[in-house]
Amino acid sequence: MTDNVSKASDERGAQAPQVVESKHEGHSWTGEAPLFIYAVWYLAFLYIPVLFLPLFSFNDSIYVAFPLKGFTLQWYADMLENPALLQALENSVKVGGAVAIASTFLGIFAAKAMTRYHLPGKGPLTSFIMLPLVVPGIILGIALLVISNTVGVDLSLYTIALAHTLVAVPFAMLVLMSRLEGFDKSLEEASLDLGENAFQTFLRVTLPLAWPGILASVLLTFTISFDEFILAFFLAGNEVTLPIYIWSQLRFPNRLPMVLSLGACILVASFFIVTFSEVIRRRGVGTQSGSAI
């Protein structure tokens, strides 16, 4: 038995260089090709519908249908001259910014506590904090609306921001926990050992090392708030956020191309934000692994 195992591993060892070579030549039909085809289909399924947005946003027709009529920037111009849209955009940026800062601020302390201290009941507590992730948005929305009415809080951008913070904190915490777990705990101990108290250690060691995670958390939670619809729909007062504005415009067929161009803009902006946060995150990981050697 043992002989067989060792022989098999010998053979694998002998063949290893060939496997590497075949990888350079391309995808072998037996191994990787089906996976490759699957990946292409998957990506097509995921992205082709989305790509219709920018495509039709440049189409010179109010009807979203083939064949394409001609190229125009009319819808983009309309968008910029629409004060209600710009106001909704401003509202969304305000709410998103507030949510990003608040949830990241709360998230980092929660993440620090979860990763660094011996807490009784840490497991159940973590699950409890993560709960908003699995509670359906519509239930949460109704619950918060009922509470707002009971307590007598007027619906406004503030109520939307509070609700968004509630769902964004778990995400912030997850991002920051993985960041804090990624660096050596003895770095913080070394700082304590060298005479800095807990707060100074947090400022001089934890924050600088966690900043890629903090930035990632800010961008992620901003994005979560920016495209959240259900909670905003329940909790909006007179001022609406962008998703609600877009929804309200769908009633008017002639406004649809403008919504498409708006969608295209959001798509491009999200793409850059996510790419940027990923670059930051990876750069952070790079310097970390360098220090671990």
Binding site: S186, L187, E189, D193, L194, E196, N197, L209, T287, G290
Partner: protein
């Protein structure tokens, strides 16, 4: 005047739940001493070190450093500094800022701190490295910078948590000697944690051998090796052969012990707590045996056996000799003082004789 109880660990225990990581330990460490805590992983040595640093609080008992009780004192207020196993070099700071990290509250001007950092870089033989980033350093360099970062604080005690474990063998041996020289140079009390007995013996003035949260023996490296008090210490430090024995009586200075395997053994080794009657464990180190291929002309402390295995290691050879009355072969180490071109073959069941001195036979409590 050096104090004998510069560090005083008094009836100290640390429990994690039901596990007694450190179990009622008491001993003193002298000022200026290079003191090692030696033991297998899980013996409590790191927990003890972390209690000295303040990262763990004793469940029971107290620790005194230079006469001051340390219970409840947080790490940043203790007169000790630590070199971490992972070195814990701050990755976001350069070498200069790493070394100067703990000087913020020293009350020194920036120019004075810069000067001290340069002095430390000289001391650790890395002059001109101040501007280097943390990720541009080798393992050995990190280790030195962690040392400089701690020593610049001029602590009363420097704690070292297996700081050489991550280095390769050559570099480790070099660092052992450098660390020892540095310690003599700066005169600071070092408490060094290691599981490597050779490392502990190379560097230490005294070693505490630990097991299961208890201290088995505290002694100089020489005495730990030559006069271990208990079987466990004898076994942990170096290699040793044990024989079950019965003490028969005295003949002059020598104690006579009847053993399984070596016959009647004469021992004049003086152990502090060596038994004088009843059952005992006879312990003899491999290098204390003389191996000959002709029958020697001695009356006592000789046994005939059969060579079962031999290993040539260059500077010395190891032999494994099977004797009557003992299952396990006896391990024998012999220095190859003469040039030896012919390998000793163990295949042909050659007859050999082992002899040993009366004072190299240790008698241990069962």
């Amino acid at each position: 005047m050096a104090r004998d109880d510069y560090i005083s660990i008094r009836n100290t225990s640390k429990h994690f739940g039901s596990v007694k990581a450190v179990d009622n330990i008491s001993f003193n460490i002298q000022q200026g001493e290079f003191f090692s805590l030696l033991g297998a992983s899980g013996c409590g040595k790191t927990t003890l070190l972390r209690m000295l640093a303040g990262f763990e609080q004793p469940t029971l008992g107290n620790i005194y450093i230079d006469g001051q009780p340390q219970a409840g004192v947080p790490p940043h207020l203790r007169p000790v500094n630590m070199v971490f196993q992972s070195y814990a070099i701050f990755p976001h700071l350069n070498v200069h800022k790493n070394i100067a990290y703990g000087m913020r509250k020293s009350g020194l001007s920036k120019a004075e701190v810069d000067k001290k950092v340069d002095e430390m870089l000289e001391l650790i033989k890395l002059p001109g490295y101040g501007k280097r980033g943390a990720h541009q350093l080798s393992g050995g360099q990190r280790q030195r910078i962690a040392l400089a970062r701690a020593l610049i604080k001029q602590p009363k005690v420097l704690l070292l948590d297996e700081p050489l474990g991550a280095l390769d063998k050559k570099l480790r041996e070099q660092m052992q000697l450098e660390l020892r020289a540095l310690q003599r140079d700066v005169g600071i009390t070092f408490v060094f944690v290691t599981h490597d007995q050779e490392e502990a013996m190379t560097m230490s003035d005294r070693i505490a051998v630990m097991s299961m949260g208890k201290v088995l023996q505290i002694d100089s490296p020489t005495r730990l090796y030559e006069v271990p008090k208990v079987k466990e210490v004898a076994d942990f430090i170096g290699t040793i052969n044990f024989f079950e024995g019965d003490i028969k009586g005295k003949e002059g200075n020598a104690t006579i012990v009847a053993t399984a395997g070596l016959g009647n053994v004469h021992s004049t080794a003086s152990g502090d707590e060596a038994p004088t009657s009843g059952k005992t464990t006879v312990a003899i180190r491999p290098e204390k045996f003389n191996i000959t291929f002709q029958q020697p002309n001695v009356a006592n402390n000789v046994v005939e056996g059969v060579l079962q295995a031999a290993a040539y290691l260059g500077d010395r050879s190891h032999y494994y000799v099977k004797v009557n009355g003992r299952e396990e072969p006896i391990a024998v180490a012999s220095q190859n003082a003469q040039r030896q071109m012919q390998a000793v073959e163990a295949d042909n069941q050659e007859k050999v004789w082992l002899t040993w001195d009366e004072d190299s036979v240790l008698l241990l409590n069962k």
